[in-house]
């Protein structure tokens, strides 16, 4: 009888190269890491600066200080009142909103994918071996907590309303002051700064509404679209926006920075706001 031997044990092809890709696969990760680092550094410095956040007269409040609820906030900036006594900016003036803004971005599906790739390098690029011996993804603490994105989305909607309130104020500047400087009159008016704030607020709303959680809550969770025509329509609109979620994630980082920079320069009297009306 012929002796039949066992088939050879099957294993993966042993290829030692981490990747055989020949394109510059590392580029995207480097660009993302650099831009995110610059942004975080800028925002951190600004949030703890404690001045040049409000341009009185024009009523421009930077989004990094909104809502300004610390007792330190200059008059006019704190339209929602002072919630805590005056403290130096060891605690950011907008301490009430910043954790949620940060949490919203940190748990965003787009940013998660982006920084897992750029910073944690799992994976640095597709089909490039990651440098970690084990991997458990978002199955354990702390990363499993990113499932709370939904909650941050609810908070982000509230914060977008606050941003819209700041926008209204930016179109309602001081139009007259009594000679003794005690009584201010406000009226409609706007300048380049108001338009920058307007663009920023529109983009922030677009980013917030294009969120995957929003897409799910408004309609994605349904099984039977034809039974819910209105929600199906809303889902379609949100889905259209959602396709641009990555682009909006980056444009809003830019618009936030531009808005803050402009208000900072105007508030620091580097140049006056260019007025268009009043």
């Amino acid at each position: 009888m012929t002796q039949v031997s066992d088939p050879p044990a099957r294993t993966r092809a042993q290829i030692k190269e981490r990747t055989l890709r020949t394109d510059p696969w590392w580029n995207r990760g480097r660009v993302v890491a650099t831009l995110l680092t610059i942004w975080v550094a800028y925002a951190t410095v600004r949030v703890f600066t404690g001045h040049w956040y409000f341009a009185p007269g024009y009523n421009y409040l930077t989004p990094f200080y909104s809502p300004c609820v610390s007792g330190e906030c200059v008059p006019g900036a704190s339209t929602l009142g002072h919630w805590i006594p005056a403290i130096p900016p060891i605690i950011p003036y907008a301490f009430i909103s910043l954790p949620f803004v940060l949490g919203f971005r940190l748990t965003c599906y787009y940013y998660r994918g982006a920084y897992y790739r750029a910073f944690w390098r799992s994976p640095a690029a597709c089909a490039v071996r990651e440098p970690h011996a084990t991997y458990s993804g978002e199955t354990k603490l702390p990363l499993i907590a990113f499932n709370l994105h939904r909650f941050f989305f609810y908070m982000a909607v509230i914060i977008s309303v606050l941003n819209t309130w700041d926008l209204v104020n930016a179109f309602w500047p001081t139009t007259a002051v009594t000679p003794d400087g005690t009584h201010l009159t406000h009226g409609f008016g706007f300048g380049i700064g108001s338009l920058i704030i307007l663009a920023n607020v529109v983009l922030l709303w677009a980013y917030t509404l294009s969120c995957h959680s929003c897409r799910h809550i408004t309609g994605g969770r349904l099984k039977h679209f034809s039974k819910h025509p209105v929600r199906y329509w809303i889902w379609n609109q949100i889905s259209k926006l959602n396709k641009h979620h990555m682009a909006l994630a980056w444009t809003t980082l830019t618009s936030l920075m531009v808005t803050d920079l402009y208000i900072m320069l105007v508030a620091a009297n580097a140049f006056p706001d260019l007025r268009i009306f009043n």
């Binding site: 799992s122 071996r129 978002e138 499932n147 099984k223």
Partner: protein
């Protein structure tokens, strides 16, 4: 017209093997699979390749070309320069049978574990009506040709063999999403998607989407919506509050099909 392309092809079996150099003629309009067939016909008659339709529809010819997971029949030689060396290897995530042919049975085992379509038993065949908008989402997922390039690329199992036990891979998490979005399906696969099929391992880095030859938006349209459905069950503060107030007993999800591995 034609030129001699430099190829480095992985040859071997049972995991051990090496890259071997060849020079093969290339003519205008050809794809990588054509060139591999010419290599087989003229220089390496024992080269093993899996292929079938030559039209990007059967999902057989999955391989890695210059390190990128692709279909051999859909990768044009004109996307490479005439002077560069093309490195062609089998899919890395699955065991090699021989040369470019891998054993993809992992995928079939995962497929069998998913509870199949479960309609309401009281609805008679032919009674249920669906409209186009009810099936649009599933139809995108149904474009899948089962090439398993996404499974091969996903770092969760590509870089960590030990995760194969607990992670079903993008293709099958998408299958779960498809059934969960089916208007006539009554099962609830949210718990098992997380616990038995390992959706939590996915870190939404989108490589499955990047390599899918059918351009299915696997991450955006299947995996994230599935993560959201699970968040709605487990992590939504409003849903949690509602369940505390109404005191509704929490329903149990459908279990995975046992004993299929």
């Amino acid at each position: 017209m034609g030129y001699l392309a430099k190829l480095r092809v992985w040859r071997g079996d049972a995991g051990s093997g090496s890259l071997q150099d060849y020079k093969v003629e290339v003519n205008e309009g050809e794809v990588v699979l054509d060139v591999l067939h010419r290599l087989q016909a003229t220089q390496a008659s024992d080269l093993a390749i899996r292929w079938n339709c030559k039209a990007g529809k059967c999902g057989s010819c999955s391989m890695e070309i210059n390190g990128m997971p692709r279909l051999g029949c859909m990768t044009r030689m004109s996307t490479f320069t005439e002077v560069e060396t093309l490195t062609i290897t089998p899919m890395r995530t699955f065991p090699v049978i021989r040369d470019l042919v891998t054993d993809v049975s992992f995928n079939y085992a995962k497929a069998r574990e998913i509870p199949s379509f479960t309609p309401d038993p009281s609805v008679k065949p032919g009674e249920f009506r669906m409209r186009q908008e009810d099936v649009n989402r599933s139809q995108e997922f149904r474009k899948c040709i089962e090439c398993y390039l996404c499974q091969n690329t996903c770092h969760v199992i590509r870089d960590h063999e030990e995760n194969k036990e607990s992670f079903a891979g993008p293709r099958f998490l998408m299958r779960i999403a498809e059934l969960e979005m089916h208007p006539a399906d009554e099962a609830d696969r949210r718990d098992i998607a997380q616990e038995d099929f390992g959706l939590g391992y996915c870190n939404i880095t989108k490589c499955c989407t990047e390599v899918c030859p059918e351009h299915i938006k696997i991450t955006d349209n299947a995996l994230i919506p599935m993560k959201e459905r699970i968040a709605g069950r487990k992590y939504d503060p409003l849903v949690w509050l509602g369940s505390k107030i109404s005191m509704r007993p929490k329903s149990k999800g459908t279990p995975a099909v046992p004993g299929k591995r």
